[in-house]
């Protein structure tokens, strides 16, 4: 009985644990982000339950950051939901990249992994060589991130009132996005998409209800596509 073949259960456990371990270094950046979200939500006057449930239901940091001032500012519901949709549209890219690897799974697994699919979970998962048990790896990575996000949100909510405005914590949102976007500007069409979108957002800033953001996204994506065609043929 010594050293029998590892059974299916322990293999799954191993794979899941490998996912947790791969996610750990990223959590160092996610934990402060979650705390800051909680603090901002409290400073904006959201109810505690709404702030925490947003982490639970949306589980999408950047869109939660954007939603906080909009919620507090009484922006119409449909516009807010559409803004969240545009910010989270990049997840469709991750969904497309992981889809072939998840094709053999049950609908329940697909739903669960889709719920957990975030920037940070994707970053770790896409580097893992696909195998018959890799979905346990994805689950481990996603669950680690999920747990960290819920706990750090709760901590931020708890600390909320004690952190003064002068700490400029809201500045961490554009900084996080700078960290995500700058390394991704690898070619000219992507750079063009970013610059035209950014410029449009500044010029259209006066439009009500963050419509400038939506307009900017549209302009940027179109410019990227045009640029791609232009530089490919040229």
């Amino acid at each position: 009985m010594i050293n029998a073949m590892p059974d299916g259960f322990s293999l799954r456990l191993q794979e899941g644990w490998a996912g947790v371990r791969a996610e750990l270094p990223i959590l160092a950046g996610v934990a402060p982000f979650g705390m800051i979200y909680g603090v901002l939500a409290m400073q904006a006057g959201l109810p505690v339950s709404a702030a925490q449930c947003m982490s639970f239901i949306l589980f999408a940091g950047s869109s939660q950051f954007m939603a906080v001032p909009l919620l507090a500012g009484g922006v119409p519901a449909l516009i807010l939901i559409f803004t969240v949709f545009v910010i989270n549209l990049r997840h469709a890219l991750y969904s497309a990249a992981l889809a072939p690897r998840l094709q053999h799974l049950s609908p329940l697994w697909k739903g669960l992994l889709a719920y957990l699919l975030t920037d940070e979970m994707f970053a770790v998962s896409i580097t893992r060589a696909p195998g018959p048990l890799t979905h346990w790896f994805y689950l481990g990575a996603g669950a680690a991130l999920w747990t960290c996000w819920q706990i750090s949100t709760a901590l931020g909510i708890f600390l909320g009132a004690q952190i003064p405005d002068s700490w400029s914590l809201d500045f961490s949102l554009p900084l996080t996005f700078i960290g995500l976007v700058v390394p991704a500007l690898k070619d000219r069409p992507a750079l063009l998409a970013a610059l035209t979108a950014g410029l449009t957002a500044v010029l259209a800033y006066g439009l009500p209800n963050k419509l400038g953001l939506l307009l900017a996204a549209l302009v940027g994506i179109s410019a990227g596509l045009l640029g791609e065609r232009l530089w490919k043929s040229g």
């Binding site: 402060p32 959201l46 109810p47 709404a50 947003m54 239901i57 950047s62 869109s63 954007m66 939603a67 519901a77 807010l80 939901i81 949709f85 910010i87 989270n88 549209l89 990049r90 469709a92 890219l93 969904s95 497309a96 992981l98 072939p100 998840l102 697909k110 889709a114 719920y115 699919l117 400029s168 500045f171 961490s172 949102l173 554009p174 900084l175 996080t176 996005f177 700078i178 960290g179 995500l180 976007v181 700058v182 991704a184 992507a190 998409a193 970013a194 035209t196 979108a197 950014g198 957002a201 500044v202 400038g212 953001l213 900017a216 996204a217 940027g220 994506i221 990227g224 596509l225 791609e228």
Partner: protein, 109 residues
Amino acid sequence: MEIWLIIIGAGLVTFLTRLSFIALQGRWQPPELLQRGLRFVPPAVLTAIILPELLMPGGQLHLGLDNLRLLAGLAAAATAWRTRSVLWAIAVGMGSLYLLQAVSGWLAR
């Protein structure tokens, strides 16, 4: 009440976005334009959020050396370019902002 409708609605569109291609794999081939366009969503959307935050703190266009958020943001961008690390970009950006605030406070005395 409305806040809960918004949160649930926003959660639903986010979940469906994440599920989209996973659920449709093998059943539907997305049009080519959509596949190519998706690539530009992150840079376009994220930059559209970043630039107004840097160039117009307080809602007014503000270009100049006394726009501390712009300077700190540029430092963060340079850091992100060199290190490719979100964590370093945040650390350098926040650090620069605090430093610049301290210096400008000292100069104003």
